[in-house]
């Protein structure tokens, strides 16, 4: 009797889960299979016959290996990711520690600091476009008035990428700060007390007690930002269009351009699969880290 009941319960649970698995399979697995298949064809929408041409399945990948612009985009991506993640971790740590102070005023500020993170990314990009366009930028005119005119950053080969990093850090700093804040909240008071009783100075406490404690949280936050940095799109689309030259053309953007400006969908699928593979590896690492911490499962 009991076993029959348990069996019925299990069946109900399975029935609860099943629709989601079916929907997920349809909306994610099927397209992924399609993507892989497309990457094996030279599909070019100006020549519809290419859709079913599997005569040279590795053709796109062979082209990719010799495509300077692809490798350049990987390098740009690496620089962008390193820059944004590093600054967001350092800045997020600082902001998180600042916001951890208990006072009504700081609490109110916490909410304000959330704003950049929740804004639609395209609106963030437009805001920075205003600031980076010398003709209408209050920053440019203020600096010019102070006698410190600066060149237009988004068309400057050395500054275009940092300009995007600045905007991205602005947008996502609250995220890492929030994660730091959450970890700090769970930090045992005793450890701090003990360190203080031993006569450690403020920065020593920070270095030897707080930082080691925050390390896993920072790692998780960093990994999340790293994975998201691979998807960078609106900022580049609005601010630089990948330029000047290809200084800010990340892999994601190159794939977009190949597919949706020139209709090379087969070639673009190959680039995209390379991206997916990279993201997959990072996610796997992330799951292991998070899993070890016990937050997942």
């Amino acid at each position: 009797m009991k076993r029959a009941l348990a069996g019925r319960r299990d069946r109900t649970y399975t029935l609860c889960l099943l629709p989601s698995l079916v929907v997920l399979a349809v909306v994610t697995l099927a397209p992924t299979v399609y993507l892989v298949a497309t990457s094996l064809t030279p599909l070019d929408l100006t020549r519809p016959a290419t859709a079913l041409d599997f005569s040279q399945p590795s053709g796109n990948y062979a082209l990719l290996l010799h495509d300077d612009r692809f490798w350049n985009s990987v390098w740009v991506q690496a620089k962008l990711s390193a820059g944004t993640v590093a600054f967001q971790l350092v800045g997020g740590l600082a902001l998180g520690l600042l916001l951890a102070v208990r006072s009504g005023f700081v609490e109110a500020c916490r909410t304000l600091f959330l704003i950049p993170m929740v804004l639609p990314p395209i609106v963030v990009a437009i805001m920075w476009k205003v600031l980076y366009t010398p003709d209408i930028s209050p920053v440019h005119s203020a600096l010019a008035a102070l006698g410190l005119p600066i060149p237009a950053l988004i068309t400057h080969p050395d500054w275009a990428l940092p300009a995007i990093v600045i905007a991205d850090v602005w947008e996502w700093l609250p995220f890492t700060a929030l994660m730091v804040l959450a970890a700090l909240k769970m930090m045992p008071e005793e450890a701090l007390e003990a360190a203080r009783i031993d006569g450690a100075a403020g920065w020593q406490v920070l270095r030897h007690v707080v930082l080691p404690y925050l390390r896993p949280a920072l790692l998780v936050a960093g990994l999340f930002r790293l994975i998201d940095s691979v998807k960078a799109f609106p900022l580049i689309y609005i601010l630089t269009d990948g330029g000047p030259g290809t200084v800010t053309e990340v892999t994601n953007y190159y794939a977009f351009r190949q597919a949706f400006n020139f209709s090379y969908l087969g070639f673009s699928s190959a680039i995209t699969l390379a991206l997916v593979a990279a993201v997959f590896l990072l996610s796997w690492w992330l799951v292991r880290v998070v899993g070890a911490r016990g937050d997942v499962e």
Binding site: T46, R47, R69, P151, G243, P244, G245, S263
Partner: protein, 457 residues
């Protein structure tokens, strides 16, 4: 649309008329063709027409008069005019799926080979041969043949009608500064460089400016140097971007932007470039006439009395001012093709083109009957200069020498992108011209391979 009481009586008769005309069309189907006048206009009542073009002086004119068209036909027209690159990307994307988002689209010059070649645009011959769809006095033969070339395929099938015949000329917004330096309008590349060096920064005015459509601006310099984009378009599309002429002209043009243009000019849109000239922040520019004529006519122009126009300067191989044409066409997937044709007919009717030219000062018109009108010539005499003559000379030369063929091959958008990026790299000193052009050549070759096009080894 307008539902004001005043219009009601007319509306109801219109509805009655609609009924009878619908019956007439029904009968017509059985018997023969519907009578010419009857079906006209009213059969489109209630149709919502979607169309798009990049924003331009001419589309501004059309938008201003759009209400008249809507009232006349009873249609509602959503006419979108985004920025040039945004428009091209979105139109290309929709056409590539044979989509039905738009009933009429602009056939952008550099995409004409691609879109028509891939069979993404509808032939207009059916409408043109049907006297009910196209009354003879609309006069399709009135369009300048050079402007129609990119909208017509090898067999002579017409896919669009031109609203702009763009012709590149040169304008100095502050000719007074050039005179003060004891010089004249530059006629050669060497003189252009000398003039830039002499007047740059004078009176706070940078000597040169242009916008970020480098693959449009640079080829005239390339050809002036004796270089080519492709070996022999359209038969042989082997790129020739790493030739000595290409390297030298690229360095020359890049230097104009690097040394003599306002900060940030590299990313200027066409309008930002125009604004820089109109407000007197930059002096010389080589661009299509539609962007330069307003220096003399725009209400907010601060350089009306000092502007001067001239023919494109020449290099060792001659002068090759760019010419383009943009025209309205109908996508194959369009849902309301007949209604779209009605719009195109209206937008490019003799009357509308004449109004654009004579009332709105739009210069780059494509109807011979308007160009030949003495009033047009008189209107286009700006600041004492006969702009119409300059304009016609460009059209004639580009037609006679046929040097614009490189721009309408199907793979031009991809190859143009490579040139564009190369110029940007040179201007920003990321690469010397030789390296940048060698890279552009390699990338262009790769693109052509992807497109399945045979090139010389």
């Amino acid at each position: 649309m307008t539902c004001m009481p005043l219009h009601r009586p007319r509306g109801s008769t219109r509805r009655m008329f609609l009924k009878t005309s619908a019956a007439a069309v029904g009968l017509g189907l059985v018997a023969a063709r519907a009578p010419a006048v009857l079906g006209q206009a009213k059969e489109f009542k209630g149709v919502t027409l979607n169309g798009a073009c990049f924003q331009h002086a001419y589309t501004n004119v059309l938008k201003e008069f759009l209400k008249e068209f809507e009232e006349k036909t009873g249609m509602r027209v959503n006419f979108e005019t985004p920025a040039f690159p945004v428009y091209n990307q979105r139109a290309d994307l929709d056409l590539s799926t044979r989509g039905s988002a738009w009933d009429f689209l602009n056939i952008t010059f550099i995409y004409s080979g691609r879109w028509i070649g891939a069979g993404w645009m509808s032939s207009l011959e059916e409408f043109l041969s049907d006297r009910n769809a196209t009354p003879p006095d609309w006069d399709a033969g009135d369009f300048v043949s050079g402007a129609q070339a990119s909208l017509t395929d090898a067999k002579g099938t017409r896919y669009g009608f031109a609203w702009e015949a763009g012709a590149m000329i040169m304008a100095a917004s502050r000719y007074d500064l050039i005179e003060k330096a004891g010089m004249k309008m530059p006629e050669t590349f060497d003189q252009l460089r000398q003039v830039c060096a002499a007047v740059d920064g004078k009176d706070g005015v940078k000597a040169f400016v242009n916008d970020n459509l480098h693959h449009w601006h640079w080829p005239p310099y390339l050809m002036g140097w004796g270089g080519k984009v492709f070996a022999n378009p359209p038969e042989n599309l082997t790129p020739a971007l790493d030739s000595r002429e290409a390297v030298e002209s690229a360095e020359y043009y890049a230097n104009l932007l690097r040394q003599y243009s306002p900060s940030g000019a590299l990313s200027y849109t066409m309008d930002q470039g125009a604004l820089a000239q109109r407000t007197g922040r930059a002096n010389l520019r080589t661009q299509a006439i539609a962007w330069l004529a307003p220096l003399a006519t725009a209400p907010d122009s601060t350089v009306k009395t000092t502007v001067r126009f001239a023919y494109m300067p020449r290099g060792p191989a001659g002068a090759f001012p760019g010419s383009v044409s943009h025209g309205f066409g109908i996508p194959v997937g369009a849902k309301n093709k007949r209604a779209a044709w009605e719009f195109i007919k209206w937008a490019l009717s003799k009357e509308m083109v004449r109004r654009a030219a004579l009332e709105k000062g739009y210069i780059a018109v494509c109807r011979k009957s308007v160009i030949d009108d003495p009033q047009y010539r008189k209107n286009m005499t700006l600041n004492g200069q006969d702009l119409a003559a300059l304009y016609l000379r460009v059209l004639e030369e580009s037609g006679r020498l046929g040097y614009m063929k490189y721009r309408v091959v199907p793979v031009y958008p991809q190859v143009g992108d490579k040139m564009h990026k190369a110029i940007e790299r040179i201007v920003t000193n990321q690469q010397p011209a030789r390296e940048a052009m060698a890279q552009a050549q390699r990338e262009a070759v790769l693109e052509l391979k992807k497109a399945g096009i045979k090139i010389d080894a």
